[in-house]
Symmetry: C2
Subunit: 258 residues, 2 copies
């Protein structure tokens, strides 16, 4: 059986979700006739697969999870929205008059966020972009994007890149999910296997698939707030506050310890 | 990366879709908290993947496609619903007082169709079941299940099993989809590749995946009505009528040529 092609699976999915939501551009059809809902497929390296409707990437603030709305109030000054996707959050900040830049590694996502009106976008990795001379007051990681810390090895490298981009007094506002309350035996076994391999329990090895495309495999970290405290040690960042009202989801604010 | 386990992926999916629809039984949750829609994931052997919400397997007749409703009027006498799934169609026939048996190879599907009130069910393949001494007047293959003809090699074997189960004057009522009107280059290339390999253009090599489970790879045939005419030649069955009002979807009635 053929493997999928490596490509911008996320961007193609966002393009299609945008077409379905707006009627702009060719919409995916089944049998050339019936509307086909746009589904994000996520594979985990233990063989688990999950599909989820992609439409939420385009949700208006009224449809957001409450912790996302609360997180917006934690933004200060110039904002870098990391993993901007279809611009869901950045567009709302822009509407509110905030100076916001949307960064993504997906060309399709950047294209859609611009079509939707987002003015300042960057198609790049955080690492590459951190060589730029711009500075931000808030780094925003919503939609579970605290996961971009990836692993104990990667987290300090990622956080160092943010340090280089940080204006004095800068903060990170990041939404995470504590994975350890689950009673799902598949997940419990996965966490256990991870630990046996020296990985964090919630360190997921994933790839996205959409139609004929897949991303490369990547790590995506679900960690507890205790683990987060450990991860930031020695990076110059410290956890200043946790909004844990909607456990297992939380919004962490981190600040530079200087 | 680990392969999924081979198992009753379809049945597990139907169980979860039933739990979500009815609130009976444990519902799938994301993060142990947010309802997770039940998505059927279908992989094709060229690396294509598609997700689709599974809820339609439980749809009431008012939500059906119009060709399904028209197909019911074509049933006569005792009905064998092949690939009964969650009992969507068989339950409606039963409500109408029709003597209907639901057959499926998925234990989970049979369990759900029985929970929903379907009285007469068979957990078996058509081939094995055709050794039984029961006889049917109508073989019903809705939900695209003309696809169970699989291939030019398999179709006569499948149709011979139905012949063994056929009462005098029996008919097949089967819904198919003509795949050849597509302008999707992925599908056009797949049809071409199939033909180069001596397969029918719309002979799909698929597997279903749900969570950690996958089915084995199987053939599922989308064929034109011309191809269908060819496939039934010499099997004792002939195409009596085609309802093609909703192209590319069609409902074919086949009868024994004796």
């Amino acid at each position: 059986m053929d493997q999928p092609s490596i490509g911008d699976a996320f961007g193609e999915m966002i393009r299609d979700a945008y077409a379905v939501r707006t009627g702009i551009g060719p919409r995916p059809l089944a049998g050339g006739r019936l509307p086909r809902p746009v589904i994000e497929v996520i594979e985990r390296d233990d063989g688990l697969i999950n599909g989820a409707p992609a439409d939420h990437y385009l949700d208006e603030p009224g449809d957001w999870q409450p912790w996302d709305r609360r997180a917006l109030r934690l933004c200060r000054g110039r904002v870098l929205d990391i993993g901007v996707g279809a611009g869901r959050v950045a567009l709302e900040l822009q509407r509110r008059g905030v100076a916001v830049t949307g960064l993504d590694t997906s060309a399709g996502a950047i294209e859609v966020s611009r079509k939707r009106g987002l003015r300042d976008t960057v198609l790049n990795t955080v690492d590459e972009f951190s060589r730029a001379s711009v500075r931000y007051d808030t780094f925003l990681l919503l939609g579970n994007n605290l996961g971009l810390l990836e692993s104990a090895e990667r987290a300090p490298v990622f956080l160092a890149a943010l340090s280089r981009l940080a204006a004095p007094g800068a903060r990170i506002v990041a939404q995470g999910a504590d994975p350890y309350g689950t009673r799902d035996s598949l997940h419990v076994a996965y966490h256990q296997r991870n630990r046996e391999r020296g990985r964090l329990g919630g360190q997921l090895r994933l790839r996205l698939r959409y139609r004929e495309l897949a991303t490369d495999w990547f790590d995506y970290l679900n960690c507890s707030t205790d683990e987060l405290e450990d991860l930031v040690k020695g990076t110059g960042w410290r956890v200043k506050s946790i909004d844990g009202k909607d456990h297992p989801y939380y919004v962490a604010v981190m600040e530079l310890d200087i």
